[in-house]
């Protein structure tokens, strides 16, 4: 775990390596950040969907931070947030962004690289 934390600053790794390292078996703690704007139904749904995915696939190894841009608008620029809601995977590297309310669990998993992308979309 220490090793992988160190390697985060390194040059981009191939997707395969990442998939191996970031897989459920590596046991690294995932840093997830969900950007919302106020308590909209969509934000609430997104949070619920995220929670569900994490519980299923990353139980005990995740950390969700919810950023309400209405309260902290200055934080939007940092992660280049346009769409709401946006989920940002801060760790493990590389950074991934998933916009939308995560209704489609399959796509969310692919986006989070918890599951390899389907051979043909």
């Amino acid at each position: 775990m220490k090793k992988s934390a160190n390697s985060s600053a390194q040059a981009p790794e191939s997707l395969k390596e990442i998939a191996e390292k970031a897989g459920p078996e590596t046991g690294e703690v995932w840093q997830l950040r969900l950007y919302v704007a106020g308590q909209t139904p969509r934000s609430v749904a997104a949070f619920a969907n995220l929670k569900k995915i994490c519980e299923q696939h990353l139980a005990g190894r995740y950390n969700i931070e919810v950023v309400d841009l209405v309260k902290h608008p200055q934080l939007a620029a940092g992660d280049q947030i346009l769409a709401i809601p946006t989920l940002v995977r801060k760790l493990p590297q590389p950074l991934r962004k998933i916009v939308g309310d995560l209704r489609d669990t399959e796509r969310a998993l692919v986006g989070l690289q918890l599951r390899p992308a389907a051979p043909e979309k």
């Binding site: 950007y35 704007a37 106020g38 909209t40 969509r42 997104a46 969907n49 841009l69 209405v70 608008p73 200055q74 939007a76 620029a77 280049q80 947030i81 346009l82 769409a83 709401i84 809601p85 946006t86 950074l95 991934r96 962004k97 998933i98 916009v99 939308g100 309310d101 995560l102 209704r103 489609d104 796509r107 969310a108 692919v110 986006g111």
Partner: protein, 584 residues
Amino acid sequence: MPAITRKSNTTPKKSTANRSLPKAPTGIQGLDEITGGGLPRGRPTLVCGSAGAGKTLLAMEFLVRGATQYGEPGVFMAFEETAAELTQNVRSLGFDLDELTNEKKLALDYVRVERSEIDETGDYDLEGLFIRLGAAIDGIGAKRVVLDTIENLFSGLQNEGILRAELRRLFRWLKDKGVTAVITAERGEGALTRHGLEEYVSDCVILLDHRVTDQVSTRRLRIVKYRGTAHGTNEYPFLIDEDGFSVLPVTSLGLQHRVSQEHISSGVPRLDTMLGGAGFYRGSTVLVSGTAGTGKTSLAAQFVDAACRRGERCIYFSFEESPGQLMRNMQSIGIDLAQWSKKNLLQFHSSRATLFGLEMHLAIIHKIVHDFQPQIVVIDPVGSLIQAGNLRDAHTMLIRLIDFLKQREVTGFLTNLTSGGESIEKTDVEISSIVDTWLFVRAIELGGERNRALYVLKSRGMAHSNQLREFLLTPHGIDLLDVYVGPEGVLTGSSRLSQEAREKADALLRQQESERRERERMRKREALEARITALRKEFELEEREAETSAVQEISREKLIAASREAMSRSRRADQTAGLSRSKK
């Protein structure tokens, strides 16, 4: 509903007591003129054009001028270039974005949209963009906003349905916020913009165009639409140079320019005499045409020299000679133009006519005249402008140029080369009808010589001479001489000189002849008078003789009578009564 939208509803637009739409001046030279005061205040304006047309620059200048000249801070939201890149790009135009940012007059926000980083699952909206923009606007109290170019969102986000709905909401939101927005967009095939943004921005649409015709490129701007405002509908050329953006409303605005009663010298005293004694009118347009090598440029230089001597400012546009060459050549006829150039009274602008399109030439002339504020503009020669376009375009361009100069009360001095083949009293750009004074310089070939002659073809509003003058280029400038007109025809140069010499000889001869006659007459008179004296003397002599003989006669008669009396007395004859009575 997101809080921002609700909050923004509380900023109503200032009521438009004025009948016309409130405008936000752009501060861009010329654009405010053709839009009647600027962009619609509090509404979005769409600026579209192909790549490299100048959209970003127009938008940036709108913000910078707003911040520096009109006290309206602005937000620049860039979707293409980073803040650092933008800052660097516009530094060459004299805009210091860093300083403006520090002074809170400007906010730059770079929005990166990277499709490869983003996955989409389910519903979303662009509230994040709204919040960022809202925060930036509120952070500096911005009145102006630029989105450059928001179409990039279409490449970053997949769900076009959401995007379109959100864009519609964005423009509505911008209006509600009361900011004057400029949205740039790429020109699309057969439509104004690639993604149909004109559908959302319907108040004002400006189209920028960069066209290449005959390998000559011209930038043009057109107001496609401006709701609620009468605007110029033409295509206007514009320039991007070290001072930024300038649009040139070059269409003639009518014939309502002021006229001056003031005369200005042409620099050639005898030419002034020919023009009613005082030279050209200030603010008039003078055309000098003539065949090659007849001294048109020299006339122009002499005019400029005289003007600079009066302390007036001149601009010399040369399409044939470089400034150095001009100055050297004019030195040979004793005109030192370099001194005026040093004193910043004279500016030279030399370029090949083919370097730009006509519109661009006109635009450049406009700009230079605007900046330097001269009293006199020389264009030498106008004919070469045909090379930059076609005859018709050159003609209209010159009319617009002349109108422009007249409006500013600038005296225009144009030269034009006439080729030998065609009718000489005709300019190839056909501007003779719109110039006020037309001088013609032509070569007269005679006696194995080619000499120059000048005459005034027309000069509006003055009693000008109808005489042909010989035009001499001396080491001390231009001189005009009377030509010889006589039974031999019009003579110039050596022929004139020899004719003059011949006339002088003839005159001498005539004088000698008359002197001879005079002497003869004197002699005759003397002779006659001598004869008269002689005759008179003769007559006096005769008279005296006659008197003497008369006296003698009387004394003889007396003698006879006495002797008769004596005789009769001695004869004692009767005294005749008659005799005695007559004696009594």
